[in-house]
């Protein structure tokens, strides 16, 4: 088993290095968030303020934990064929767990050990930044306490990963033939067709239309509501929750419905049709990250309204926000890396039936722009509204707000550029190599 693992490490070195780097970053951020939480426990604050201030790093550390699990899970899910070969050669699902333990435990341990060092360095920077602005605020934390929290997170993450994998192994064991054949690579449909493309069978999906209209109403109404200046905190919270739910529904249900209803017209626009369809697929694949960016990130910002002192809020919001964006971007890159490999055969298929690289480029570009707009830009509008209120209430300074918004824009633009460049490289490779169409691939 050790030899097998060694060979797998050697042959997939690039993938493992990428995973290790992402795990190190995520764990370092997790360590930093936990250190912030530990530092805040030492302040003497009113319980409402304390809970809000604790909430910001705790929520961020939980996001780091979820992303840690998410990243490892996707990496392991991509190894279905490797596991099925082991099962085929006579190993039991229990052996596979040991195999997984041997393969991923060292990686996670290394990541957490390095994370403790990098996390401490981040905390030093976080304390150093207010000092150069002549602030007296210092976040003192106990290294041992934070290591303990971090260890608990590690244990929890590992147990969840093992549980998820155990479920996967049992499924593999039950239907080994399916995973060894090509069917395993076939994904679930991106959405369910409600209105048939065949005119004689066509039914109007009224329920979906009502649901989607509700989603649009929620988004628009709550956005307008948020623009009012004299909102109470409860109203603000309600409007904000509705707005986030509205955006999520907009992406997940309204676009597939539009595709469904306008199918007849879309047939005249192959590029748009393919772009929308591929967007539906992409949104389904990236649903966890989209949710984090559209819902959790603004919620984290919302918590600042329960805080009291600008100094404390600024000290915690800025690093938490930036680290959250970096975490989401890193996880996005890893998930996209896997998605991009899967989508190559799709490009090859379309290319074989006459879609030129130019058309395919346009399809991917529209898909990416739509994703950027819905998942990154619209949430930014809501966050902008929150920033404006925070500025009015004296919770955040204009400098901090500018840094946060610029960081958000830069990182997401970089992710967008990375996505476009990678897809362009894939397209080039796919059109030059017939292997992506062959069964042997």
């Amino acid at each position: 088993m050790f030899t097998f693992i060694k060979k797998i490490y050697k042959n997939q070195r690039k993938d493992y290095v990428m995973l290790l780097i992402i795990l190190i970053f995520l764990s370092s951020f997790e360590f930093t968030f936990l250190a912030m939480y530990d530092a805040f426990t030492q302040f003497n604050l009113h319980w409402t303020v304390r809970s809000a201030l604790h909430g910001i790093p705790v929520l961020a550390s939980l996001v780091a934990l979820v992303l840690n699990i998410f990243v490892t899970k996707y990496f392991i899910e991509n190894k279905k064929q490797e596991f099925s070969i082991l099962l085929l050669s006579g190993r039991k699902p229990k052996d596979l767990l040991i195999y997984l333990l041997l393969q991923f435990l060292p990686l996670m341990v290394i990541a957490y050990i390095i994370a403790a060092i990098i996390g401490s360095a981040f905390m030093y920077l976080i304390n150093w930044f207010p000092q150069i602005q002549n602030s007296t605020l210092i976040l003192n934390y106990s290294f041992i306490n934070v290591c303990f929290y971090s260890f608990m997170y590690f244990v929890f993450a590992f147990i969840v990963i093992l549980a998820l994998c155990a479920h996967q192994f049992v499924n593999l064991d039950k239907d080994l033939a399916k995973y060894l054949s090509q069917k395993a690579s076939i994904s679930k449909p991106a959405y369910i067709i409600k209105a048939s493309a065949v005119s004689s069978k066509r039914k109007i999906p009224w329920l979906m239309i009502i649901f989607s209209l509700g989603a649009i109403y929620l988004t628009v109404a709550s956005l307008l509501n948020l623009l009012q200046t004299n909102l109470s905190t409860t109203d603000l919270l309600m409007s904000f929750t509705y707005a986030l739910a509205g955006i999520f529904m907009l992406v997940m249900t309204v676009i597939p419905l539009l595709y469904d209803l306008l199918h007849h017209r879309l047939l005249k626009h192959p590029i748009l049709m393919n772009a929308l369809s591929s967007f539906n697929e992409f949104a389904r694949v990236m649903v966890v990250l989209a949710t984090l960016n559209m819902i959790i990130l603004p919620i984290q910002l919302f918590l600042i309204f329960f805080g009291a002192k600008q100094e404390l809020i600024q000290a915690i919001t800025l690093p938490c926000f930036i680290m959250m964006i970096i975490m989401i971007a890193l996880s996005f890159i890893l998930r996209f890396f896997i998605y991009n490999q899967e989508s190559r055969s799709t490009f090859a298929k379309l290319n074989a039936i006459g879609y030129s690289p130019h058309i395919l480029n346009q399809i991917t570009l529209i898909k990416n722009i739509l994703f950027l707009f819905l998942i990154f830009i619209i949430p930014l509008l809501f966050m902008g509204e929150l920033f404006y209120r925070a500025y009015n209430q004296g919770l955040l300074s204009i400098n901090i707000i500018s840094i946060m918004m610029i960081t958000y824009l830069i990182i997401n633009c970089l992710v967008f550029i990375y996505t476009c460049v990678q897809e362009r490289i894939s397209l080039k490779e796919v059109t030059q190599n017939v292997k992506y169409l062959n069964r042997g691939q």
Binding site: L267, T346, S356
Partner: protein, 449 residues
């Protein structure tokens, strides 16, 4: 003369290539293959695993690039087309059916079938009518609103066939189209393909199943990247053709190599096989006499017994001259034999070829030889270098009248070295090296379709 849709001359596909410095593995997946597909043909390519069947199909269908030789589809050299032109070409003329259906996972079955036709900006109602019509023919009309992941392998394959047919392509390329289907569905698909062929669609099918191959009109057996044998169905029944195919496929040389039969028996069988092959050659010669005159063929002319360039011989069709007897294999892989004494006149000309090597780009020249006989004119492009002078001298010895308006013979005598001769041709035959006149190997120019 029949209409040739695909013409492949001496094509080779080399993996890990480094022909000149010989540093790579230089694995020949296809080695010097000649191929012709005429309008209305239903040709099947068979061969053991790794023989190069799919590679040949991919190269002929523009999906893969060849390493050596040339592929012309409807008189267009595909090496002259850029990626966009190739896509347009595929979209207009070619249809594909793969073994693993290759449907786009995020498009419904309806959209998958309609995907190629959408590029034509046709009326929506026409698109819908076409898709539904094809879906009914293939019995998948109930699946149109489903996604590939919700359908069985057979259903997906039928959807893929519908997608291949939606454009009414001139040529359909099928790579193991029934590999994932049960026998009932396989026959359904093959009957459909036969029906399409009767209506005029040209089909090139790759399979390793003799039953499937028996639906075709012609079977080519590929072995280790080269064409080993070709058989025709002619007017015979499907069952007879099936038996013929089985005979060929069971003569696999690996079986022979590892057979435990005594050598004598093998020798006897070999003699019987040779007799049979001779019969086949005779049949081809009588029935397809006109095939020797179909189009210009690249050959390397060698006089048996005299030294020749083995590297050129490896990459070209050999034109053997034994005394006055000539034999070679034409693009359709038929064996052609004739006697040089029957040749009344020979016309010489030149063809220029642009070889794009960046800074080292240059033109190379090949003589063309038209041999006029009472049966017709044999057309060749000769790949010989300095040794072509020996061939010219042989024509003189046999008192064959030579028409040489470009004074090629004189050039060969004056400049026996290839480099000097090329420079001379470049100076004296500028009409051949004008833009768009010269052929190109890894081309930058070419006529748009």
């Amino acid at each position: 003369m029949s209409n040739i849709l695909i013409e492949a001359s001496n094509i080779s596909k080399i993996y890990d290539p480094d022909i000149y410095l010989k540093r790579g593995k230089n694995f020949y997946a296809l080695n010097n293959v000649n191929f012709q597909l005429e309008e209305g043909d239903f040709t099947c390519v068979m061969g053991p695993s790794g023989s190069g069947k799919s590679t040949l199909l991919n190269c002929l269908s523009t999906l893969d690039k060849i390493s050596l030789g040339s592929v012309k589809i409807m008189d267009t050299d595909i090496s002259t087309l850029n990626k966009d032109q190739l896509c347009q070409f595929r979209y207009e003329y070619l249809g594909y059916i793969f073994q693993n259906h290759n449907l786009v996972p995020y498009l419904s079955i309806f959209d998958n079938i309609a995907a190629p036709i959408l590029l034509a900006n046709q009326d929506t109602l026409t698109i819908k009518a076409k898709v539904i019509d094809l879906a009914k023919t293939l019995n998948i009309e109930k699946l149109l609103d489903k996604f590939p992941s919700e359908c069985s392998g057979g259903e997906c394959q039928r959807a893929a066939i519908a997608r291949a047919l939606i454009n009414d392509p001139k040529i359909i390329f099928c790579d193991e189209p029934t590999g994932n289907l049960d026998s009932k569905n396989s026959h359904l698909v093959l009957k459909l393909l036969s029906q399409l062929n009767k209506q005029g669609t040209t089909i090139l099918l790759v399979t390793h199943d003799a039953m499937i191959a028996s639906y075709a009109k012609k079977m080519m057996y590929l072995y280790d990247g080269g064409i080993q044998s070709v058989i025709y169905r002619h007017q015979g029944s499907q069952m007879d053709f099936f038996k013929k195919i089985n005979d060929i496929t069971t003569q696999d040389s690996i079986l022979k190599q590892f057979s435990e039969e005594p050598l004598e028996e093998i020798q006897e069988k070999k003699e019987v096989e040779e007799e049979k092959t001779q019969e086949d050659i005779e049949t081809i010669k009588i029935i397809n006499k006109e095939r020797a005159f179909i189009s210009r063929q690249d050959v390397y002319m060698i006089i048996d017994g005299q030294p020749y360039d083995k590297e050129i011989a490896k990459r070209n069709t050999l034109f053997h001259i034994n005394d006055t007897h000539v034999h070679y294999t034409n693009q359709r892989n038929d064996k052609v034999e004739f006697d040089l004494t029957t040749i009344q006149e020979v016309h010489f000309n030149l063809k220029a070829q642009f070889v794009n090597f960046g800074l080292f780009s240059q033109y190379i020249f090949h003589p063309t030889v038209d041999m006029v006989s009472p049966q017709g004119t044999y057309l060749f492009k000769v790949k010989n270098k300095d040794d072509f002078i020996n061939i010219i001298q042989l024509f003189h010895q046999l008192h064959i009248l030579i028409d040489d308006p470009r004074h090629i013979e004189e050039a060969y005598k004056k400049y026996p070295k290839d480099y000097e001769r090329t420079k001379f041709f470049q100076r004296t035959h500028k009409d051949l090296i004008q833009y768009d006149k010269a052929e190109n190997i890894n081309g930058i120019t070419g006529n748009k379709i």
